[in-house]
């Protein structure tokens, strides 16, 4: 478990002081895939760098399983860093070393014997799906492959926590999806807690179970991803959930009831859900807003549906939509306009 307690970070430069983080408190539980999302300059990188003390917090503490990381000596900290590893937007591979040597690198640092390190690296190459790239150099790999090598490297010391700072921002949507799948798989199979920093809502939608929205150095909103999606409270959250501005696109007819449907990786195979509902249940839903996309055979994103007034129809629609799983439906009570 990682607890961030009243953490603040102020940068003092010749150009003036920047309060990058202000009184942040968050708890990341074991096994979470925790998203930290925010606009550029919100302080995301600073926050993640404070978690492994690459950046010393000005105030507050980071506790890992109750241990205050700020109180550790450099040597103790280096040891903790084997448990909290990191992947980066720019991959940061050693360009003059083969993929195998790159993966061996953290093991070498930890003093693991060469043969043993190599064996472990080969296993990891298998896990990330690149067993044939052991002898290749990073420059010979695509971006997605390089990030896989970086992930394998980050897993080498069998960490408890994996920090990802914009790990998919340099990749195309398909590759992003593949990498996120890999991270999810790692989370499930190896039980590694993952903290993902991103500015893309789609990344959070796709794999996170909890999310914190960072805005101007403060946590604007925090909670289960499905909740935050279904009912964004803060302006920052609304901006992220409805990047095009919800208001303009939602003309609600008088008496109409509105459901927010959040697709969290529902199967998109066969006929689209809304059309299917019209056929099966004879409910004609009015699509007021839709921001969904298909990744592989799954749907992500959310939709606002206008439904007739009758309670029975609304309940029936909710049951129908949630039947297949990975779809979250809530009624929007407040005025969406």
């Amino acid at each position: 478990m990682i607890e961030i307690k009243n953490l603040s970070k102020t940068f003092r430069t010749t150009a003036g002081t920047v309060e990058a983080l202000k009184n942040i408190s968050l708890t990341v539980n074991d096994g979470d895939i925790y998203g930290i999302i925010g606009m550029s300059g919100a302080g995301k990188s600073t926050l993640v760098r404070c978690i492994n003390m690459l950046e010393r917090p000005t105030e507050g503490a980071v506790l890992m399983d109750g241990q205050d990381l700020g109180a550790l000596t450099q040597k103790e900290l280096r040891k903790v860093r084997r448990d909290v590893t990191m992947i980066f937007q720019g991959f940061n591979l050693l360009m003059q070393k083969t993929c195998l040597r790159n993966i061996c690198f953290p093991l070498e640092l930890a003093g693991v014997k060469k043969e043993e390190a190599k064996k472990r690296a080969m296993e990891l190459l298998e896990i990330v799906g690149l067993p044939d790239k052991a002898g290749s150099y990073p420059a010979q790999l695509s971006g997605g492959q390089q990030q896989r090598i970086a992930i394998a490297r980050a897993l080498a010391t069998q960490p408890k926590v994996l920090l990802c700072d914009e790990a998919t921002s340099a990749l195309d949507p398909k590759t992003t999806h593949d990498i996120l799948e890999l991270l999810k798989d790692i989370n499930e199979r190896l039980g590694i807690t993952i903290i993902i920093i991103t500015h893309q809502m789609s990344v959070v939608e796709e794999i996170c179970n909890r999310v914190a929205i960072l805005d101007g150095g403060v946590v604007a909103e925090e909670g289960e991803v499905s909740e935050v999606f279904a009912n964004p409270q803060s302006d920052a959250a609304k901006r992220l959930v409805f990047p095009d501005g919800e208001e303009e696109v939602v003309p609600v007819h008088p008496g109409e009831r509105v459901l927010r449907v959040v697709f969290n990786g529902a199967m998109a195979a066969g006929a689209p859900l809304i059309t299917q509902m019209a056929i099966d249940e004879k409910i004609a839903a009015n699509i007021l807003y839709a921001s969904t996309k298909c990744l592989g055979d799954k749907v992500y994103g959310n939709m606002l549906l206008g439904l007739p007034e009758e309670e029975e129809t609304v309940q029936r629609a909710i049951r129908y939509l949630t039947k297949g799983g990975n779809v979250l439906v809530t009624e929007v009570k407040e005025n969406v306009q």
Partner: protein, 234 residues
């Protein structure tokens, strides 16, 4: 002058001198250059590393005073003209080798002149490293020493080789210069015959051999740097 320079008797005379003296001079120049470069790298490399890692936000910050002294000493040695430095180094050379003449003796001032230069070259090579790579190593729990040995040096090998090639060609020039005040090699031949005895043809040929040597060192160095650079797809 040129007519006279290439007259049959001059050419014949030059050829005999060259046949007798050039092979040995070439050997002297080459070994003085290589040995001086090796020592200059041995000394310059750690200084160059310190210049980078010892900075305020480097991986092994050193006291400000230490960095200041380091920089001043290197700049001082770099600003003294080589010929003067060689003369100034005579006492030291005598202590180390017991003599101030000969090729071996010229290596001492060569090293003194070249190592600060090498230190600056190493510094510039190490500064080319992407700071994110160093941060990556820190995030994985690397100690400052591990960062230097396992990250900074291996990652900058192509750049270091290019810069060492510059060093070797510069030192070759110094070696030739040292021939004028007691050192051996091609520089000595050029000065002795060309300047003191007006045998310009001999001087011309000695200079041409020096040029060829520079070319050889440079192209071997460049090839090696490219070959060892894994960032290039080949």
């Amino acid at each position: 002058m040129f007519n006279k320079m290439f007259s049959p008797e001059n050419v014949a005379e030059a050829l005999t001198i060259l046949k007798e003296e050039v092979p040995f001079a070439l050997w002297e120049t080459t070994y003085a250059t290589l040995l001086a470069t090796a020592f200059a790298i041995l000394l310059g490399l750690p200084f160059g590393i310190l210049l980078v890692v010892g900075e305020k936000d480097g991986v092994l910050p050193l006291p400000k005073g230490v960095m200041y002294v380091l920089n001043v000493v290197i700049n001082l040695l770099r600003s003294v003209p080589f010929l003067l430095l060689m003369i100034l180094a005579f006492p030291l050379t005598r202590v180390i080798l017991g003599t101030t003449v000969g090729t071996a003796a010229s290596i001492v001032p060569l090293v003194i002149a070249a190592f600060p230069f090498v230190a600056r070259l190493v510094e510039s090579s190490l500064r080319e490293i992407n700071p994110n790579i160093i941060e990556m190593a820190q995030s994985m729990g690397a100690s400052p020493m591990q960062i230097i040995v396992k990250v900074m040096l291996p990652e900058s090998i192509p750049s270091l080789i290019s810069n060492f090639t510059i060093a070797i060609t510069t030192i070759l020039g110094y070696t030739a210069m040292s021939g004028t005040i007691g050192g051996g090699g091609l520089g000595k031949i050029a000065i002795n015959y060309g300047y003191h005895r007006y045998k310009y043809l001999v001087m011309l040929i000695a200079v041409i051999i020096l040029i060829v040597l520079v070319q050889v060192f440079q192209s071997v160095g460049t090839k090696l740097a490219v070959k060892l650079d894994r960032r290039v797809k080949h």
